[in-house]
């Protein structure tokens, strides 16, 4: 016998409301701005898709998007292999395990604007420890407030310091879930350490690594606070990543229409890349 009970809706309702206020309503507001022009006083003019066209054609957007992809690409090719190497060299058991785990988790626990401030002070020439050491001890001309290359190196090193731990912790979780029996079987098969990594550890880490790369992609692609506090997008526009540019357009120039259009394009790119990556990585498992 089938019982119909409409009360179930009451249990789903809170979630629906939460999602609506969390995601749908803000996005619809942005969509609303993206197709209109406003000069304040709540007066709006219909613009259609003009803002989208303008953004997609603008050199400034292309440059920021290019910098954004370069930044994400660089931190991914550094953080993922480095994270795996660190995870592989961490002890599997014993008293050092909790020590290592806590040390790894520390950078991630620091608020993002604090990370930016820390690295700012750390790297300033003359007063920062690293800035002083590079310039006055090693004699290398290093100044992230003046040179684009120094600024880039600094934001990348900062992100690697801040977020490699995430890859380490996720990879480590994948590694410790491998039973000793597989390592034994591999030894008996005569496998070299590289083959053990390639055929046992890497396949076992695949799921967690997919998640780690996805998280790192999304976080680094949307990064704002740390580079904003550290360089403010400078020198010049050299470290103006997408989100920094977006805030400049929206709050600096108060061009709400183009900023809204840009937000939607930004969101679509993040979503598309994440979806493509996830689909490709999990394609084999679905078979």
């Amino acid at each position: 016998m089938k019982t119909e009970n409409q009360r179930a809706w009451f249990f789903v309702l809170p979630v629906l409301l939460l999602v609506a206020f969390n995601a749908l309503v803000p996005i619809m507001t942005v969509v609303n701005y993206s197709v209109q022009e406003t000069f304040g006083n709540n007066v709006f003019f219909w613009q259609g898709l003009d803002w989208f066209e303008q953004i997609l054609r603008s050199d400034r957007f292309h440059a920021a998007l290019g910098r954004q992809f370069l930044f994400t690409f660089l931190i991914l090719i550094i953080e993922v292999p480095l994270g795996i190497i660190v995870a592989l060299s961490m002890p599997r058991r014993g008293i050092w395990v909790p020590v290592c785990l806590v040390l790894m988790a520390l950078p991630m626990l620091i608020p993002w604007n604090v990370v930016g401030s820390m690295w700012n002070i750390f790297t300033l020439p003359k007063i920062g420890l690293l800035g002083y050491f590079m310039n006055d001890v090693l004699g290398i001309n290093y100044d992230m407030t003046q040179q684009p290359l120094s600024a880039w190196i600094t934001i990348i090193v900062m992100d690697v310091w801040h977020w490699t731990s995430l890859v380490v912790l996720l990879s480590y979780a994948g590694l410790v879930s491998i039973p000793d029996a597989y390592y034994q079987a591999a030894k008996i098969d005569g496998a070299s350490p590289w083959k053990v990594f390639r055929y046992i550890q890497l396949p076992k880490m695949k799921t967690v690594l997919t998640i780690a790369i996805l998280l790192r992609f999304m976080d680094s692609f949307n990064i704002y606070t740390e580079p904003f506090v550290l360089t403010g997008g400078g020198p010049g526009n050299s470290t103006t990543l997408l989100s920094i540019d977006l805030v400049k357009i929206a709050l600096g120039q108060f061009d709400l229409g183009p900023a809204a259009a840009m937000s939607l394009i930004y969101f679509a790119i993040t979503l598309l890349v994440s979806w493509l990556f996830y689909t490709l990585m999990t394609k084999d498992d679905a078979k």
Binding site: A181, Y182, Q184, A185, I188, K195, Y199, I200, P203, K204
Partner: protein, 354 residues
């Protein structure tokens, strides 16, 4: 190929797992390691496989010292009690993995995998993943890997323990042919005396990290060198009791008496331990020479065509195992008959004297 252990021992954090052991294992038959759980069978296998460090002594493969050689270089195979296959590889890739690691040519790999799969009836399953196979098939996949590799030594660590009864019987019958004529030393660890007898070959009895006796399986079964060896090689456990000999008369500590015959009659007078296998203690008298013993029946079991009774005789819990169905009543005193000519006599040091 032979495996020779010379005073090999294993110590983990100050605890001795394997006391210095010397053995020579040869190809052409099964070398069975028989002992209860915790006796050191797996430890000994890991030592020979190079998976655990050796504390002292030497291990020789064909006279060549491999003590310091890593597992990777020893060219061996190991099949566990639990089924170890790489979960993300197909059955084909699993069987091929040691060959691929060795850098063998593709065509050669294919023919070898096909051959091993055919022998173990895995032909139609080559494209599947291990978790899509039944337990028996998974273990056959692990066995196929060991066969395809054609290694110098094959270690089978209770490979049938996790299979159901039927499969176990089937696979046990196949095992000796699988490895026959391959020239590899086959070492088979088991905790079941019956399995050791069925596989034949040579048996090393293990107890508490010591190989107590090593030799042809049937020989050891018939002449266990010590009381411990007799206990290990008996299922249900062998019955034993203290006995005093005076003249030609044997007297159990429970008061039962009988006249000694054969070699036992020539022993000097004094205290001994007598041990007799459960199937030589019967619920009915077979010959007039059988010794009558009374016991209180405590537990009875019917297994197929055999019935066993655990009974209390004085301070000793004894077992009788007999063909046919016998109507025991729990709690009643039953008269059992012992075939004293089949009894073993051990001296006060636990060694077999007659």
């Amino acid at each position: 190929m032979t495996i020779e252990l010379k005073d090999a021992s294993k110590v983990v954090r100050g605890v001795t797992h394997i006391k210095p052991t010397s053995l020579v294992m040869r190809p052409g038959h099964f070398n069975v390691l028989l002992g209860q759980t915790g006796a050191g069978k797996t430890s000994l296998i890991k030592l020979m496989a190079g998976l655990d460090p050796i504390a002292s002594g030497q291990i020789l493969f064909d006279g060549e010292d491999v003590t310091k050689l890593t597992t990777q270089k020893r060219n061996i195979s190991l099949v566990h009690q639990f089924f170890v296959n790489y979960p993300h590889m197909t059955v084909f890739e699993n069987i091929a993995s040691p060959l691929r690691v060795a850098g063998m040519a593709k065509s050669e790999i294919e023919s070898r995998v096909q051959e091993a799969a055919d022998i173990l009836q895995l032909g139609p399953m080559l494209k599947r993943r291990p978790q899509e196979l039944s337990g028996g098939q998974q273990q056959r996949c692990a066995l196929a890997r060991a066969i395809a590799k054609e290694s110098r030594a094959v270690f089978l660590d209770e490979p049938l323990a996790n299979l159901d009864y039927k499969l176990r019987e089937e696979l046990r019958e196949q095992l000796p042919e699988l490895f026959a004529g391959r020239g590899a030393v086959v070492v088979y660890a088991t905790s079941e005396p019956e399995e050791a007898l069925l596989l034949g070959g040579e048996t090393a009895l293990m107890d508490d990290g010591v190989v107590t006796q090593f030799g042809p399986t049937a020989e050891i079964y018939r002449h266990p060198a010590t009381l411990t060896a007799a206990r290990v090689f008996s299922d249900p456990p062998i019955n034993s009791a203290g006995m005093t000999k005076s003249g030609s008369e044997a007297r159990l500590d429970t008061g039962v008496r009988w006249t000694l015959e054969g070699p036992a009659a020539d022993l000097p007078d004094g205290p001994y331990t007598v041990a007799i296998r459960p199937h030589h203690v019967m619920p009915l008298a077979m010959t007039s020479n059988d010794v009558a013993i009374d016991g209180t029946v405590q537990v009875t079991e019917l297994s197929g065509s055999e019935s066993s009774a655990h009974f209390q005789m004085g301070d000793h819990g004894w077992v009788s195992l007999a063909h046919g169905v016998h109507p025991y009543k729990v709690g009643e005193t039953h008269r059992f008959y012992m075939d004293a000519s089949k009894a073993f006599y051990f001296g006060s040091d636990g060694r077999l004297v007659a």
